[in-house]
C-alpha cells in the first residue's frame, strides 16, 4: 500500500514550525506547534486534527516539503477525527463513483488538456489559446473516470484517494499522453505533489494550466491588448501544492496588462473560499466561513479590484455570486486571457 513520506526528524530540527504558526485559522505559538505536530506524527490526538479547516496551506508553509497537511488528514482518518459530518463524507465519497459507462479512449500520442471532473466547463477552453489542443474528459457522463480524487483530503479520507487514484492515472495513460495540461490546480497538485509524496507512479508529465496559458499568451503576444483592469486572484487551496507555479499568476497579469491589486490576503496569505469550512463539524463553522468570505471580499474591495479571477470551479461556485454582489466581476483565468486577445470570453458577465 502507498505510504506517506513524512520525516519526523525534519520537524524535530525545524526552527520555524511555519506549518502551524502561520496557519490563518488557528493561533499557535512555536512551542505548541512543535509539540502538536510531533503528537500527530506519533499517532496521538491533537486539537489540530479537530480544528484544521483543511485549507492545504501548511503544505506550502513547510520549508522542507515534509507534507504536514497530508500527515494531518491521514491521522484524521486513522484516529477517526473526521473534519466533516459523516453524511457529508459519505456523500462526497459516493460523488466520485462513475455511473454512466466506461470512457471512450482515444489515443493522443502527445500533449492533451485534461478537464478532470469539470467536463461541463468545456466552454471555458475555447478560442485561440486552446486551438488544436486535444482534450480528454470532455463527456460529463464519463468525467468521474478522470476525477483526481484529491478532494478527499478535505474529507480526511486519504484511503479513498489511494484506492482510486492509480485507476484514474491508468485511464489517463491509456490515451497515450506525454504531457497532461491540468485544467484544475487540484489535478496538477495530485500528479506532482501527492503522488510522489505517497509513492504513486505517474507515467506522464503534468503541466499547470497557468504555465500553459502563460506560454500561449507569449506566442500570441502581438495580439494582446492590455485589459487595464484591476484584478484580485482567488487562490484555491490546491494551488498550495504547486507554489512553484504561483508566479505564473503575476506573469500572466503582466502580459495581459492587468493590475494585480495590493491586498492583505494574497499569495501565501490568501484566504480559503470558505466552501469546505462552512460544512465542517466544528461549532460555528457556517459563521466562520461567512467571516472568512466577508474579510476576503472586503479586502478585494478595499484594494479597488474590479475583477476577481478564479481558477478553481469550486471557489467560483462558492464566491462568484458573492463578489458579483459586491460589484466585482467574477471570471475564470482562461476567460480573462481571452479578453486580452480580443475574444469574447464565455463566462464574462
Amino acid at each position: 500500500m502507498y505510504e506517506l513520506k513524512f520525516n519526523e526528524d525534519e520537524c524535530l530540527s525545524c526552527t520555524t514550525q511555519d506549518c502551524l504558526t502561520r496557519c490563518q485559522y488557528m493561533d499557535i505559538d512555536r512551542d505548541t506547534a512543535k509539540a502538536e505536530i510531533l503528537k500527530i506524527a506519533h499517532g496521538e490526538d491533537s486539537f489540530v486534527l479537530h480544528d484544521c479547516v483543511t485549507c492545504y496551506a501548511c503544505e506550502e508553509y513547510c520549508p522542507v516539503n515534509n507534507h504536514p497537511f497530508y500527515l494531518i488528514v491521514e491521522k484524521q482518518e486513522e484516529l477517526d477525527v473526521p473534519p466533516l459530518p459523516r453524511p457529508l463524507i459519505r456523500r462526497g465519497i459516493q460523488t466520485g463513483i462513475p455511473f454512466r459507462g466506461e470512457p471512450d479512449i482515444e489515443e493522443i500520442n502527445g500533449q492533451a488538456l485534461d478537464m478532470g471532473v469539470f467536463s461541463d466547463l468545456m466552454y471555458l477552453i475555447q478560442g485561440r489559446l486552446f486551438e488544436g489542443l486535444p482534450v480528454i474528459s470532455q463527456d460529463p457522463r464519463k468525467m468521474f473516470h478522470y476525477f483526481c480524487q484529491l478532494m478527499y483530503l478535505h474529507y480526511g479520507r486519504t484511503s479513498v484517494i489511494k484506492e482510486r487514484l492509480p485507476g484514474i492515472i491508468q485511464t489517463i495513460a491509456k490515451h497515450n499522453v506525454t504531457e497532461v495540461i491540468c485544467f484544475h490546480d487540484e489535478c496538477y497538485g495530485t500528479y506532482t505533489s501527492y503522488c510522489p509524496a505517497v509513492g504513486i507512479d505517474v507515467p506522464f508529465k503534468a503541466v499547470h494550466l497557468f504555465e500553459f496559458l502563460y506560454n500561449r499568451l507569449n506566442e500570441l503576444k502581438d495580439d494582446i491588448n492590455p485589459i487595464n483592469l484591476k484584478v484580485a486572484y482567488q487562490r484555491p487551496c490546491s494551488s498550495r501544492l504547486s507554489s512553484d507555479k504561483h508566479h505564473f499568476v503575476r506573469g500572466i497579469f503582466e502580459l495581459i496588462g492587468a493590475e494585480n491589486v495590493e491586498r492583505e490576503y494574497v499569495d501565501e496569505n490568501a484566504l480559503c473560499c470558505g466552501g469546505t469550512i462552512q460544512g465542517q463539524r466544528r461549532e460555528g463553522s457556517r459563521k466562520r466561513a461567512a467571516d472568512v468570505q466577508k474579510r476576503n471580499i472586503e479586502d478585494m474591495k478595499n484594494a479597488g479590484a474590479e475583477v476577481c479571477v478564479f481558477n478553481c470551479p469550486a471557489c467560483y461556485t462558492t464566491l462568484g455570486s458573492m463578489v458579483a454582489k459586491n460589484g466585482i466581476r467574477p471570471v475564470f483565468m482562461s476567460d480573462l486571457c481571452r479578453l486580452a486577445i480580443g475574444e469574447k470570453p464565455a463566462g464574462w458577465r
Partner: protein
Amino acid sequence: MDSVYQALVDIVGQEHVSNRQEELFIYSYDLGTTEPHRPDYAVIPRTTEEIQEIVKLANKEKVPVVPLGGGLSLAGLAVPFRGGIALDLKRMDSILEVNEKARYAVVECGVSQGQLTSYLERNFPHLTHSEPGAPPTATIAGNVAIHGQGDLAQPYGFNSDMVNGLEIVLPTGEVCKFGSCSIGSGWYTQHPLPDVGLFLGWSGTTGIITKVSIRLFPSKKIRGVGQFVVEDEELVPEIMYKLTHTQMTEDVIAFSQAIPPFASGLQHFTINIVADSEKELEFKHEIVWDDTLGEYIRSGAGGFLGFRSGLQRPQVSKTSDWRKGGGFEYVGAIMPVETYPECYRRGRDISERHDIPYTVLGRCIGAAHAMMFSWTYAFNRADPETIRQAREALHETDDLALELHGTIWKPGLYGQKLVMERLDPNTLNLMKKIKQMLDPNGIMNPGNWEVS
C-alpha cells in the same frame, strides 16, 4: 359527414376541432404507464360559452368529455378510456386579474404555471404563487383540480387550499360560480358561503373548471435554497418537525435516490429560505442552520451543504434520465410525516425487486401536518417490458401507501379502485349520488371515480 364533428366545428370553428388520427394520437397517451385510448374528437375551445355548447352536445349525443390542461398528471387522468371528446383547454389562457393588495390572481383554465410565474415576475415581482414541480406547461386549474402542491406548500398547504373562487361548467352545461365571486363581490375568498366544493379532487368527473382565483403570496427579494444531509432516515420526521417550528422556511423537501450515486442511501433536504435583506437572511440562517440543525452537525449526524441564492423554478424531476427511453411515473401519496423512514425503506425494496433505480421524495405540507411522498419509477418508453415492470411497481406502491395509512394523491384507475374499496360506505354512496345528480348521462371523464 360525422354529425358530432360538424356540430363541434359549428361551435369552435374548423381549425380548433380534429378527428384526424394523427392528432387524436396525441390525446390518446399520458406520459406515464397508462395504456393509450384514442378519443374520437379533439376540441380546443376558447370561451366558457363554447364549453357549455360542447357539453350540451355531448349530453345530447351521449359522448364522453375528457377535459385536460397540460395533460401532465402522469396517472392517466386525462386518457379518454371510452373515447369521446378530448377537451383541450390550453386556448383559454388569459390572466384576467391580479389584485395586488388582496394578493390573488384570476386566471382562465388554460393558464399555465410558467405563464403565471413569468407574468408575476415581470409585472408584480413582489408577488408569487405556489409553483408545483411539474413542467411549466402544467396549468393552474389542472393542478388545483388534482389537489396539487407547490413550493409554498410548507407555509400555506395544498394549492387547492389557495383557491379563492371557481367558475365551473357543470356536466349539464350550466355555469356556476363559487366563493365571493358568486355574489358579485370579487374573487378574494372562497369562504364563508355554504360549502359546495364538489369539483376538486374529482379528476374532472363533476364539471369543468373554467376560471380560478388563486392566492398569491409575498415574493421576497432574496430567494434561495440550502441543502442539508443525513444518513439516518429515522431523523427525517424530527428534522421536518423542527424546521417547520421555525416558521422560516418556504419549502422543505427530503429526498433520496440511487442515481446519481452521491444521493444513494442518504437523505438530502432542500430547504427554501427567503428574505428581503441580507440582515433578514442571516437571521434566518442562524435560526435554521445553527440553532435548529446545529445539534446534528456537531454530533456528526447531519451536514450543511451550503445555501445558494436564486431558485430554479420549477424543480422538475430528472428521473426520466435514469433509463434509456426517458419515461417515468410516480405514486404520490399524502402521508403522515412520521412514516418517512418506512416509506423510504419499503420504496427501495419495491424498486430493487423490479430492477429500477429507486427515487423517493417527501415534500412537507403545512407545519408538518402531512407530506406528499412520491415513489418514482423510470422506464423505457420503447420497451413494453420495462413499462410493465414500472406499472407493477406502481400498483404495489399504491397498496403500500394505503397500508402505511396514507392517502393516494391523484390516483389512477388502480389506485381509485383501492381507495373506493376502503372508503366509508356512506361517503361512497354520497359520491355516487352527487355524481348521478351532476352528471346524469355519465359523460364526464368516464372510468374515473365510478362508484358501482
